[in-house]
């Protein structure tokens, strides 16, 4: 295992400390619960948005905390849902009179933890609600899930809900935004390599030197099939077909396209995929009005990428275009 790691057991709190030190004006970091909160705290008149899951997917989710995005987030160990208490403390830290929307990617462990935490928070009088994200078209059921998995489409749910909350939407309205995004977003990924959780020290699955896993999950879960590697264009066609055929996208639709890197793939390769995806989208009669090429939901150092398409309407376009400030930044 070749990584920048000290004690693998401290990997998560150490990188979270780095994020906190790098963003002192934006974030507060609570080491006990591996939780990050907006420095400005929740606003009593605005809905709070929280999320949390196993780590290893950064910048999701703790690097998505900030004005216009999440109010708070917590991280479990690598690929392990956070403990119930951390989820509960995160909801509490985000508590607002306007309510708390908990965005959960659809994995068994995360759902159970947030279920319990939401019940506990509700018992304490906090107005908290859960919403499950499940944008991955690769497989119906998978390791760790009943139903589809939540993957990079999660970014759009956070972004749109964050913008709606910032604009003063009610809890019902923000939940409706989450539902609209989730109903209109689809993703599928492909892995070129496996990845090594620091505490495990060995690859999470094995892939032959010339093999790729099409439809891979962000924890290395099996996808649709294993294939011999082929050209970037052919892979992009396969992803585009799977993603775009899953909801009734139709010619004339305005869409956002995301090409998400899984951690070990350089940005240039993502742009090779984007070039083809953009071409296919235009051929299908879509108008690409927004695009996102980079790392949004990763799987440690896995080489690979996922393609996400989101069907837009005026409301979503406006919400995506709204400003947001997070630890994920360039300048």
């Amino acid at each position: 295992m070749k990584k920048f790691v000290n004690d693998p057991a401290k990997f998560v709190p150490e990188f979270m400390k780095g994020i906190a030190l790098a963003n002192p004006d934006l974030l507060d970091f609570n080491e006990e619960f591996q939780m990050v909160t907006r420095k400005s705290g929740p606003s009593s008149s605005k809905v709070s948005i929280v999320q949390g899951s196993g780590s290893g997917h950064e910048p999701a989710h703790v690097m998505a905390v900030g004005p216009g995005m999440l109010t708070a987030a917590c991280q479990g160990a690598v690929f392990a849902a956070p403990p119930v208490d951390a989820c509960y403390e995160t909801i509490k830290a985000a508590a607002s009179d306007a309510g708390v929307l908990v965005l959960v990617n659809n994995y068994q462990g995360d759902r159970m933890a947030w279920d319990m935490a939401t019940e506990m928070a509700t018992a304490e009088g906090i107005n908290a609600r859960q919403f499950w994200i499940n944008d991955d078209v690769a497989v119906e059921d998978s390791l760790y899930t009943v139903g589809r998995r939540g993957v990079a489409g999660n970014f759009f749910v956070m972004k749109a809900c964050g913008a709606a909350a910032e604009a003063g939407a009610s809890l019902d309205e923000v939940e409706a935004v989450a539902k609209k995004v989730n109903d209109n977003v689809r993703s599928m990924g492909v892995a070129l390599t496996s990845c090594i959780p620091p505490a495990k020290g060995t690859p999470i699955f094995e892939l032959g030197d010339d093999e790729i896993e099409v439809g891979v999950g962000i924890h290395g879960e099996p996808g649709r099939r294993r294939e011999k590697i082929h050209s970037a264009d052919a892979i992009t066609e396969e992803l585009f077909e799977a993603v775009s055929s899953d909801i009734p996208f139709k010619s004339g639709d305005r869409v956002a396209i995301m090409v998400n890197g899984l951690g070990g793939t350089p940005i240039t390769e993502l742009y090779v995929i984007y070039a083809k995806a953009h071409e296919l989208a235009e051929k299908a009669g879509f108008t690409v009005v927004r695009n996102y090429v980079g790392e949004y939901c990763t799987s440690l150092e896995m080489a690979g990428a996922s393609l996400t398409i989101l069907k837009l309407d005026d409301e979503l376009e406006k919400l995506l275009a709204a400003p947001a400030e997070t630890a994920a930044r360039i300048f």
């Binding site: 392990a80 849902a81 403990p83 279920d115 319990m116 119906e140 139903g147 060995t202 999470i204 099996p222």
Partner: protein, 224 residues
């Protein structure tokens, strides 16, 4: 004679902690065969705290103690195991509030309540290749011993039944709802949750001086 004093429950919990800590890597490796390899670490993180804070844990009665255990699990165990084990201890705690000893009947009820809680929490059923496939037959066995009331015989039989569950579920595709196209990776691997139950019960036998000779590979091969 079938009463179980709080001291025995305390010994069982401390033994469980020792078992989980000793098997941290082993359980994670088993989870890595078809899953994500975090089961042992997740569980050990919680039981390490239980072990370290043992002196301070409220032991005024069995229920108070189990409630505290449940809280420590909720605080420190991540992954699916946190909610599952946390819910189990919580349900058991609720039936033992204020008690300083319990009968075999009550023990069976506690386990039944834990099973119900886990099912409600995670939606798994018998045959989904989860630790419920060990807990449910263990519960049945325990109930069958209530009338006779021989604690030692009950524990020994429970350990045997849990062990069998490893073999009986080995060829099942994990987990509940998991589609067949992604199943191959788990089709011939033991479920780590089931193994953990069998190993714990085997260790309880040792702790309480009950002769028990494991035969299933995963229990035989656990680190000494």
């Amino acid at each position: 004679m079938s009463a179980i004093p709080q001291a025995d429950i305390e010994r069982a919990i401390r033994t469980t902690a020792a078992t989980v800590l000793r098997n941290e890597h082993y359980f994670s490796d088993l989870d890595g065969l078809a899953g994500d390899g975090d089961f042992g670490t997740s569980l050990a993180t919680g039981f390490r705290v239980i072990d370290n804070e043992w002196g301070e844990i409220d032991k005024s009665n069995i229920g108070a103690m189990l409630l505290k255990i449940s809280m420590l699990v909720s605080k420190h165990v991540g992954g699916s195991s946190g909610p599952i084990w946390g819910t189990g201890f919580m349900k058991a705690a609720m039936l033992t509030r204020g008690k300083e000893e319990i009968s075999l009947d009550e023990l069976a009820e506690m386990l039944g309540a834990a099973i119900e809680g886990i099912q409600a929490r995670g939606g798994a059923k018998l045959g989904d290749k989860t630790l419920l496939d060990a807990l449910i037959p263990v519960h049945e066995t325990l109930k069958g011993h209530c009338a006779a009331g021989d604690k030692a015989a009950a524990l020994k039989d429970c350990a045997g039944v849990a062990e069998q569950a490893i073999d009986e579920t080995r060829t099942l595709v994990a987990h509940r709802g998991r589609a067949s196209q992604v199943g191959e990776r788990s089709a011939n691997t033991p479920d780590p949750g089931i193994v953990s139950i069998a190993v714990i019960l085997n260790d309880w036998c040792k702790e309480f001086g009950i002769a028990n000779t494991p035969t299933v590979a995963e229990v035989v091969n656990q680190p000494a």
